[in-house]
Amino acid sequence: MATTKTHALHTWDTLHNNGPFPLKKLYITELEGDGIIPNRIDRYNDAAQEIQRLIKETHEANQGFRAYGSAWSMNNIAHQKDRMHYNGFMNMHIPIQNEHLHANSNYLSSNLFLFECGTTIKRVSEVLSAHGKSLKTSGASNGQTIAGCISTGVHGSAINVGAIQDYVVGLNIITGPLQDDIIYLERESAPALTTAFANKISKRVIRDDKLFNAALVSLGSFGFIHGVVIEAEPRFLLKRYVKKINKETAMQLADTLDFKNSNFKIPEETDTEGKGLTPYHYKIFINPYNTEDTDCVVELMYKKPYSPNYDDPFPIIKQSLYRDLIHLFTKMAEHLPNSIPWLVKKLRKTILPKVDEVLTGTLPEIFWDAPYQGPAFACSVGINHTDSGKTIDLLSELTRNEGPIPGIFGMRFVKQSNATLAFSKFPVTCMLEIDGVLWKKTRKIMSLEEYSRRIIEVLKQNDIPFTIHWGKNSDWAYPNLVTHMYGEKKVNDWKQARSTILSDDMAELFANKFIKTVGLYKKEPHTNEANDLLV
């Protein structure tokens, strides 16, 4: 039997110290050993029963419940003031066999895997590598759990791929304490699993595009996501180049994504006519305080077929900064904000990748571990890539004139998602992010919340449609923010889907302050529509 340890705590914090937030109880569940329950499906279902027991216990205490994994989100999206559940030890996987594939499925069974919620991206990649497979994309690092990634829309910069939720094909969700409160949800238009197999891990099978798309980026509020079926692809290599190029050229590429007709090209990455190829990944680094330099650093990656013969991409030594030095820089930023441009310049070797470095590795080797380096912030807005150049100019100006703020900008590009509340909602979204050390407001420097608010105001004033990364810092209480970003229809679709999947009691139990703040919690009466969709 899976076991849970309960800790009475007063506070909980994110990995990057964006709290602390109040808490009453922390649950930590571990699976039964495979010697005791050798069958994977049985062990998986055993864990589901344990989660249902915890939900029942929480419901009886009239409290809230929320699962979290690696706590990488930088706001209170993962937080629940009553009871939180750490699911990082729930990391089973089940490869999908051909006989489990739905008759109308276009997927290859060898590419499908069921991962339990707490499996980290690194572990997912290890499992996939052992099968000769790879994730299609990941974030910039690998420590997030698969359920955490999709719930908040974690993305990389894979121009033609999308974010992590975009290769999810099925969701196994525990929606309450009752026997029937375990559902398997997938798209009707793209079924993956047979009903017989889905019934082994759930009590109800729902095939519905609208519900599935809403539940994909659920902000942790559609219940306890127990398992995620993903579509992998054959393992590949990425060849990574870091170049210093003209800023104007870099922005023109961002605005057009026309690598074919650009002045910039990497000689090794051209077609037969000598035109530039579109990279798998494109990222621009902008130091907002360096107005004199006409160049900027860009990172490009090109996809290559996998071959075992490539140079080891890992260095032997990884250095980390003195923690006291980071603390000193933060204090300097708070009390002598004018020193920030100088500090950013001094730290550029730590912040920016080494120019002219060429590396080759698999996806998990390139996007490897990111050690903790102290309290951090990140504000990340999604804009149509055609607005990239204009937006970076506006936000750099804001950061210089009303800041300075201790961070630098990065721009990444993500293909459109089908998820209802995906911030990668534009045909290609440019995720424009400023990140750095977390500072405290003083008389001389505005607060992170004030800075975030100004970002929203500047984008609105300039009529630039935008979204905000769900797991990053912002002024989330800004009036009508979510409706402004997604439109009323999408917001209502998402709320309606939530009311369809969850009973009224469970809608309250799985809610938290974040979804109430952003206006996504509205007591809509539970509908029986989900029962009508059962197969």
Binding site: L15, R43, S70, A71, G88, F89, M90, K122, R123, Y372
Partner: protein
């Protein structure tokens, strides 16, 4: 009198400098696997969020023994019994202790994190 106090201060400063400069740590980390997490811990250093085992002791070895091996056991702090990362700290005091005891007493100041269990 003042001269003596000055000498003492200089000696103290030198001793502090020697102690701190002769103390350094070395960390090894596997590129594979993940560290065992500790969701209850709230440490703010490199090991944030990790289940760290800290050993700070003096190991006494027999006159006939050349060295010793410290065994990593499987327990709640190390669920897999396999290592993810190890940090060894060399201190001035530790080196002195080994020198004056001809290697029979060895200061062991180690932090280690075990691999996270996989299922």
């Amino acid at each position: 009198m003042m001269n003596q106090i000055g000498k003492k201060i200089v000696s103290m400063v030198l001793l502090i400098l020697m102690t701190s400069c002769a103390s350094y740590s070395i960390r090894l980390r596997s590129i594979n696997g993940a560290p065992q997490p500790d969701p209850v811990s709230n440490r703010g250093d490199y090991y944030r969020g990790m289940q760290v085992v800290e050993v700070d002791t003096v190991i006494k070895i027999d006159a006939m023994s050349k060295d010793f091996t410290y065994l990593i056991k499987t327990n709640d702090q190390c669920k897999t019994g396999k290592l993810h990362s190890v940090e060894f700290k060399n201190t001035f005091g530790g080196s002195m202790l080994s020198t004056i005891t001809f290697g029979k007493k060895r200061k062991m100041k180690v932090k280690y994190v075990c691999m996270k269990p996989t299922n």
